[in-house]
């Protein structure tokens, strides 16, 4: 249980990576942008990959009537996410320390993992909903109005995950360093749970 608790203490610390590294990355490449334009989505706002990328993405998007990319103060998510992540890190540490002193059982580790997974799925759902709105809620006075072959208005929603072709742009959307660190941390916690479960089980076998 000691080893498992140490893992439970280390695991949440990986989430701190989200304060330094982007959660998600979206790149837009096209023949006239041999060096692709890119945005990094951090938990507290959207930033350029290369300087002025956001300004240039906004400049392109205005033709099709997309809104400007949101500033941190324009979305509640960017102030809520850092608090939620911070809360989860503290909660995880507390559970880990209590586990170390045998005040709580390994089931709590799974509890934390399930809560974090739910929050993660909710976060993805929210992110996707925002992209749907951003890519389809277009200015009716837009300079260019394009429709699909079936006549429906074209959506410019970037893919949640992977690659999509949007007009002449190749758009890739992938988790970034922060997300990979979070994933690693969560795997450590899952490992902590299994380790805790195994040691408990072996002790239970020894006892009688």
């Amino acid at each position: 249980m000691k080893k498992a608790s140490i893992l439970m203490i280390i695991g949440p610390l990986f989430l701190l990576g989200l304060y330094a590294f982007p959660l998600w990355n979206i790149m837009l490449g096209a023949p006239q942008y041999p060096e692709p334009l890119g945005m990094n989505i951090h938990i507290d706002g959207i930033r350029d990959v290369n300087e002025f990328d956001l300004q240039n993405i906004d400049g392109l998007n205005h033709y099709i009537g997309m809104r400007k990319l949101p500033k941190p103060e324009e979305m509640w998510e960017f102030s809520a996410f850092p608090i939620v992540i911070g809360g989860m890190v503290i909660l995880g540490l507390v559970i880990g320390i209590l586990g170390f002193f045998k005040k709580v059982g390994y089931q709590w580790f799974m509890g934390w993992f399930v809560l974090m997974s739910i929050l993660g799925v909710l976060g993805m759902y929210d992110f996707n909903a925002w992209m749907v709105d951003y890519g389809t809620n277009l200015d009716p006075n837009a300079i260019m109005k394009l429709s699909n072959p079936d006549g429906t208005p074209m959506s410019y929603k970037p893919p949640l995950f992977g690659h999509a072709k949007m007009l002449n742009f190749d758009v890739t959307s992938l988790p970034s360093t922060g997300a990979w660190m979070m994933f690693t941390g969560m795997m450590l916690i899952l490992a902590a749970f299994f380790l805790g479960w195994k040691t408990r089980k072996s002790k239970e076998i020894e006892k009688p």
Partner: protein
């Protein structure tokens, strides 16, 4: 620079393929330039980039052109001494001061010899310098913005030809006068030239941090013609060498009268000695009047300052600093090999090349083996300083460059050829024709300790029959030789713009990574910048109207302006808000007497318009900037001079 590597691999791949096909790989075929291997050597596939930048002077165009090697593609013309409608250089209020001189606004010159800055004798890619011959000037061009940043006029000089060459740590850029003139200028009979005219050799220091130029001292030499020059390097660092002609000091029918002496001189100047003399308070300050123009790329504005005096040095007052090396037959080119040992003076009326030895020169000076003097300056004995003679069999040798592998390449004007010969042994290794009448030749890094001896570019004066005819005048031609092998191979020729008098070249990897792609709007310190479109406005000050305008794809802010009157002087201060590489916006308005302007991302430029007719006049963007470039336009309403219509402006109303 992964692109270059691809290019190299691609070439390797091609040559391997050819080897597989049983082609004569690596050997130049008898077809010369027509062989497929020549085509492959210069072919830079779409999207790939050249290996070298070449900066070719534009001669009488007054500008500098940038080409790629080996492709021969022209990338850019950099305006230096001439107004340039493409960008508005010399037309915009910011750049007009750059062309100020003691003769007033001189929007043209004859630009001859570019030279790239050096550190420890190797190219460092900070700046390229070039001379203006006609109204003597030296310009410094930034190799990160590729814009002219500074121009200094050279007083007491005329035909600023033996320049702009730099010393091996860019301590000085030299400006030698081709024509001797009265110093100071005065009203006197021309036929009293002899003994009365002076040849000023000017040493202009370059500040190591920002490149600022300062005319430190002028050496007032006897009244010969100072034709070309090159700095010493390595062991001869601290010396500068100038060829002379007209040591006869003739003042009329020069082609005969200045060609009477069998030998003229190479003047060897120990500038370190003179610098020391000046630092110890030596020299005489005399009144002068010359312009010093500086362009600042933070406020995007040039300023011109008139300077009032210059320090002159009489060479006879600094013993051991100046000597004459007799050199046969009106030497033109004056070139120093990469080790600094050999000084090559090419008699333009001879067939042979004369090579002087720096070591022998020093020994002769120390042994005081003089053969008389000229105006108090010791003349060394020809035999004592001669390292060797290249018996070439060509006619009219002009200029020599080096490949860094112990070989020299000399151009022959009269016999139209390049001759490759070996330093130390003086034997001729190869010779190839040029088309036609070649002047200078350039090997990247030519004026340095480390030449990049892969290509040589010959710059020819006559082009007839090389390309499709374009009337009586054809652009000059340049030719690229592959000099990586024992024999030279002509691999390409291409037309150039203006007179490609001389050139400087350097590897692309030295410049490409630090080339500036935009100006940061937040760093824009222009007095009249409009940093936010919210600050766009129009202000009247008497008959002057200032329009503070911003541009972004695809509109001007404001785009409707009223309240302008006939007789007003309207200043358009235009700030480009783009922060994207290679997205300038243009501005032009009907009836404008100056050039249209091209404003780079983050930059501010000012253009004057003086409306002469009542009406509603359009302005528009001249640079095809976006899908809606055509819509990037606006109107100015011009009312009669006595109208009382208030100034107003708007966008989207």
């Amino acid at each position: 620079m992964k692109k270059y590597k691809h290019y190299v691999f691609a070439l390797l791949g091609v040559s391997l393929l050819l080897a597989g096909c049983g082609n004569q790989n690596g050997e130049s075929s008898s077809n010369g330039a027509l062989s497929s291997s020549a085509a492959e050597k210069v072919y830079v596939a779409p999207g790939e980039q050249d290996e070298y930048y070449a900066f070719l002077s534009g001669g009488y165009s007054g500008n500098l052109t940038v080409y790629g090697l080996p492709s021969g593609r022209m990338f850019k013309e950099i305006p230096v001494f001439s107004q340039f409608p493409t960008s508005g250089y010399g037309y915009s209020e910011e750049t007009k001061p750059m062309l100020n001189t003691s003769f007033g606004f001189v929007p043209w010159d004859d630009a001859h010899h570019p030279d790239i800055s050096q550190t420890n004798g190797e190219l460092d890619g900070r700046w390229v310098f070039i001379n203006g011959n006609n109204t003597p000037r030296i310009a410094r061009i930034s190799l990160s913005t590729f814009e002219t940043e500074e121009i200094i006029e050279v007083p007491n000089s005329a035909g600023n030809h033996s320049s702009s060459f730099i010393t091996e740590n860019t301590e000085y850029v030299v400006a030698g006068t081709r024509f001797s003139v009265p110093v100071p200028q005065r009203d006197m009979p021309i036929n009293e030239y002899k003994g009365n005219f002076k040849g000023a050799l000017s040493f202009i220091s370059v500040a190591p941090d920002n490149g600022r130029l300062n005319l430190e001292f002028q050496l007032l030499m006897p009244g010969f013609n100072y034709d070309l020059s090159h700095p010493g390097r390595g062991k001869s660092h601290g010396w500068f060498f100038f060829t002379t002609y007209n040591t006869e000091e003739a003042n009329s029918l020069m082609e005969v009268n200045s060609s009477q002496n069998d030998k003229d001189f190479i003047a060897a100047i120990n500038w370190k000695k003179i610098e020391e003399y000046v630092k110890n308070g030596g020299g005489t300050k005399i009144p002068a009047n010359y312009a010093h123009n500086v362009y600042d790329d933070h406020n995007h504005t040039g300023t011109s300052t008139m300077k009032k005096e210059v320090l002159t040095v009489d060479p006879t007052k600094v013993p051991g600093a100046v000597f004459f090396l007799p050199t046969p037959k009106s030497p033109h080119g004056c070139d120093v090999d990469p080790t600094g040992q050999y000084i090559i003076g090419n008699g333009k009326l001879s067939a042979d090349l004369t090579v002087h030895s720096f070591d022998k020169m020093i020994a002769a000076i120390e042994g005081e083996k003089f053969d008389g003097e000229a105006y108090g300056i010791p003349i060394l004995k020809f035999e004592d300083v001669l390292a060797g003679t290249v018996k070439s069999g060509g006619l009219g040798p002009l200029h020599t460059e080096f490949d860094g592998k112990g070989n020299a390449y000399t151009t022959f004007f009269i016999s139209s050829e390049v001759v490759k010969w070996k330093l130390d042994t003086w034997e001729v290794i190869d010779r190839k024709p040029t088309f036609y009448s070649v002047g200078h030749i350039m090997i990247p890094g030519g004026n340095s300790r480390k030449p990049f001896g892969k290509y040589a570019v010959a710059m020819n004066k006559i082009t007839k029959d090389r390309y499709l005819p374009t009337g009586p005048e054809m652009e000059h031609s340049a030719q690229i030789y592959d000099i990586s092998g024992e024999k030279m191979e002509l691999i390409y020729d291409f037309p150039t713009h203006g007179e490609p008098h001389y050139a400087a070249g350097c590897p692309a990897e030295l410049l490409a990574p630090k080339s500036k792609k935009i100006y940061r709007l937040t760093d824009n310190k222009h007095e009249f910048a409009t940093i936010s479109p919210n600050d766009a406005r129009v202000e009247r000050n008497g008959k002057e109207v200032h329009i503070y305008m911003s541009t972004i794809r695809s509109h001007f802010t404001p785009d409707n302006i009223e309240g302008i009157k006939v007789g007003d002087k309207v200043y358009f201060h235009i700030t480009n808000h783009e922060q994207d590489f290679d997205v300038p916006h243009g501005f032009s308005i009907i009836g404008q007497n100056t050039s249209e302007l091209l404003v780079m991302p983050g930059q501010t430029k000012t253009s004057i318009w003086e409306p002469k007719k009542v009406g509603v006049w359009p302005f528009y963007c001249t640079d095809f900037c976006s899908a809606l470039h055509q819509e990037m336009q606006g109107y100015v309403r011009v009312s009669p001079a006595n109208s009382d219509i208030e100034l107003s402006w708007s966008l989207g109303e």
